[in-house]
Symmetry: C2
Subunit: 545 residues, 2 copies
């Protein structure tokens, strides 16, 4: 069953016909014709509002898209995911990130009890360890408390913990500083270690397989730094812990069993921040907030599992993506959080979405007959307004946007909070409705340059966006938000007929890297363009090979 | 003349016919048919190599693209820019960022002598001030040296200084730490100020107009923090300086004339890091390296001004963009620096490129008949490989890439430097050549799952990239690199017929922000979707308006 192809051509044909009617219409017109769209085209959960009234859709569009979802058996796929079926068909695994935030007493498939017990036990270990480090009971080699944590990991072992730690950090929190060492670039570790004291630094090595090239290279470099500085190899266990699904490899590296936090092969790397991979979050912002993050994600899980498709937030968000990308042909989507502490969210979503759905074959290996994942990109507002927004307003390419904004003012600086939120709303409005050339002419009426300048100051509008408004940015709401995007990715994967839980497209680069490393030490790799660069690299570093 | 339209339809037609021949051909085939492309499709300046052999072009493509550039009078436009003509036609200004890095003794139009004298004097002031602060002669209110600098600015007053300071920072440098305060988000300043000592903090307020909403709001917040902490309003001049083209406004804010560093209306914000806007760079990494940055940019300027189009790096880079975007229809371009310290380069280029060329009308206001600026996005390698590269290899959408790599090993950690560079070369090779389904079947030969898995592990290849290889990442090479991109943007603007030096697309959002701020305090703005969100915002913050 998991190999089933998506053959929903009937709903697609209806949507194509509908698209031909909608595409020429301007959002000004859609709003003029149906004032109720502000309320009908929005969905709410306590603490979170999705306003998609500025998307180029009508009620009918959503009805037709929902039919497409039904034809793709989305409801069945959702059930299979929560039940632990092996929906990651290429790797024959479940995808049970939802189990990682399962709450006691909530509905659970009987077959998952044992795994849930393991999850619960691990959650307890994380809490105990984080409290010990943050409370100062866990001591370093010289008897001092931990002041700094280095999270060594890349991809899913980096982006989630980094994003959540930055989002939830508070200047008044007394926990350790958390640093993220991902890139294999040796200058990064050198810069980071120059500022740290080995006696008060805790190192977490995070790798699902414990074979990730960058992570092991960085772990070795940091271990060497630590050993050279302290000379205390016996005390390594007070400074190095591992998070992995491959504890044997972590033990080989020299990390004692008590310091190994496990996760499982039914957790994909980019879905893993809810597992022990989130240890850095618990250390950085406290286990209470880490657990609130889980609880928020669980609330979204229940909503996703239990709500009819047409009122289901992840489903609607996913269907809008399919509409914008496959039917209106917009090649990218921008994510713009109006909250500086969400600055790592665009990079997090890039992995979550593009690594999951950036594929060209269906579950059974046959090529897709449509476009899959768009490019996801973005940066925080208001910064983006002073950078790339020019193109969003007046470029020749239309970019749909997700605006993410938190309304609650946490700082007491209400004047700036008003500005921040007003800027977000203004951008959504300007992009949707624009300003016609006639309106611009009128505005410039008393300028002698009006005729000359009007075309340059005209805004075509009709550029769609959604507004995701959080009541406030706290751990629980962040959990809801991230789970919303996770499930949205699952929704689009079902429409596109692909398996979002493998990442076979990263393998060839790894293979070639190994060959090139050998080629650098020898006679190249036999591909002339690569060999020319290897030669140059060797020359510049005057190698003696 | 500056209002001339681009009417180069003849060369475009030839390119369209050529495109139909090239598009079906695979890079494997192009390499097999012409082994010399590794050398013919590359260009070099001392310290910098552009290898575009993995672009989907032949010598003929470049010949036809060069003809397009000639028909667009690119040579004439380059001359007019360097001569100081008012090529920013909508605003009737010159675009003289090249004058900011002009070197004594180099060719210079006589009409620019006076402005160059002002540039030289300002360069001297920056050097003197930076040396005083870095050397500890400049003292704060309590008699202590400056340990921290806050650069308050957004857009061009943020992205360039941030990018260059991070790129050139050295852990052994004894200069002050530089912090960047751009976003109006009140939580950002609150977090930043919590860690700083007002007595040893220097604040630079950077705004071309000195009316930028975010910058003034943040400047007021920081000034209030400083005054409340020190109570020494007389000593403000030892802690606050301004960089602006509007010194009167800076004086109104309370910054004394001696602390105002001017730049000029012939410098666009996103082209301004070479001016006093780069003060934070000089403070952070030293005036010597700031001046080496200018010298490097000047080298690229001379190359751009003096080299025939077909051997001219910015020209070729620009023509490749036109080819990929207008003829091969690739909607985006990714920039992937394999150097963690270049992590802010993608955001810098987003502004430089998308704010310059994200336009839909030509110089005379008539609509363009082609696509202008693609979306520019990216992140550092190797991080990106563990995030969005899945989609680059196996997605349905092709994304051309700029790989940027620095070969010289600065850290002595050669093992990791080898890995970093090998990863970059491996990605370029894998994307270009891929792995066919037959090759994949062979590779999987002994696996019982070979038939099932081969389609998922097949790589179509033919995904184009350029490699920009720096001999090493130092100030001079960084200057060359940034000037290369600046001029590349100018090249594409000439082909597309647009003025890259205004940004009129940011105005409507500013206007609406003002209206919404009033609407928040009153009865809304009369647009139902915006008003619904204003209501919710007020409710959540329990406003008493």
């Amino acid at each position: 069953m998991s190999d089933n192809n998506n053959t929903s051509f009937e709903a697609r044909r209806a949507l194509e016909a509908h698209r031909d009617k909608i595409k020429p219409r301007h959002l000004r017109e859609l709003f003029a014709q149906d004032a109720s769209r502000v309320s009908t085209l929005s969905l709410e959960l306590p603490g979170l509002l999705l306003d998609y009234s500025r998307q180029r859709v009508t009620d009918e569009t959503l009805t037709l898209l929902t039919r497409l979802a039904e034809e793709c058996d989305l409801r069945g796929w959702i059930e299979r995911m929560f039940a632990g079926a092996e929906i990651n068909n290429t790797e024959r695994r479940s995808a049970l990130h939802t189990l990682l935030r399962q709450q006691a007493g909530a509905p659970l498939n009987d077959g998952l009890r044992e795994r849930f017990d393991a999850v619960t036990a691990m959650r307890q270990r994380i809490r105990t360890f984080a409290n010990a480090v943050r409370g100062g009971e866990w001591r370093g080699v010289g008897g001092e408390a931990i002041t700094d944590v280095i999270n060594i990991g890349i991809g899913g072992s980096h982006l989630g913990p980094q994003m959540a730690t930055a989002a939830l950090a508070s200047p008044t929190d007394a926990g350790p500083r958390v640093h993220f060492l991902a890139n294999v670039d040796p200058a990064l570790s050198a810069d980071m270690l120059a500022d740290l004291d080995p006696a008060t630094t805790l190192v977490i090595v995070v790798s699902k397989t414990f074979t990730t090239q960058e992570t092991l290279a960085n772990a070795r470099t940091v271990r060497q730094w630590w050993l050279e500085a302290t000379g205390e190899s016996d005390a390594l266990s007070r400074h190095f812990v591992a998070v992995t699904a491959n504890p044997d490899k972590a033990a080989e590296f020299g990390i004692p069993g008590d310091n190994i936090f496990e996760f499982w092969d039914w957790v994909g790397g980019r879905y893993s921040m809810w597992s022990a991979v989130g240890l850095a979050i618990a250390l950085g912002v406290g286990p209470e907030r880490f657990e609130a993050l889980l609880a928020g994600a669980h609330r979204m899980d229940r909503h996703f599992a239990e709500t009819p498709l047409e009122r289901n937030l992840p489903v609607v968000l996913g269907l809008l993506e399919v509409w914008n990308h496959d039917f209106l042909d917009f090649a990218t989507r921008a994510v713009i959080p109006y909250r500086d502490s969400l600055r790592f969210l665009p990079a997090y979503l890039q992995q979550l979405e593009m690594e999951s759905n950036g594929k060209r074959v269906q579950r059974d290996g046959s090529p897709v007959a449509w476009q899959t994942q768009p490019v996801v990109w973005g940066n925080v507002g208001t910064n983006g307004q002073h950078a790339f927004f020019q193109m969003l307003h007046q470029g020749t390419q239309i970019v749909p946007l997700d605006f993410i904004v938190a309304f609650g003012d946490d700082t007491g600086n209400r004047r700036q909070q008003d500005m921040l939120v007003a800027n977000c709303l203004a951008q959504a409005q300007a992009l949707a409705f624009g300003r016609t050339q006639d309106e611009t002419r009128k505005m410039l009426d008393d300028s002698p340059d009006a005729d000359r300048l009007a075309p340059h100051q005209t805004f075509p509008g009709n550029r769609p966006s959604s507004v995701l408004a959080l009541d406030r940015l706290d751990a629980e709401t962040l959990g809801m938000l991230v789970a919303l995007y996770e499930h949205k990715v699952f929704v689009t994967s079902c429409i596109w007929g692909i398996n979002p839980f493998d990442q076979m497209g990263v393998e060839l680069g790894k293979t070639l890297t190994g060959r090139i490393l050998k080629g650098m030490a020898g006679e190249g790799v036999g591909e002339p363009a690569t060999d020319a660069l290897i030669e140059r690299y060797k020359r510049i570093n005057s190698m003696g090979y």
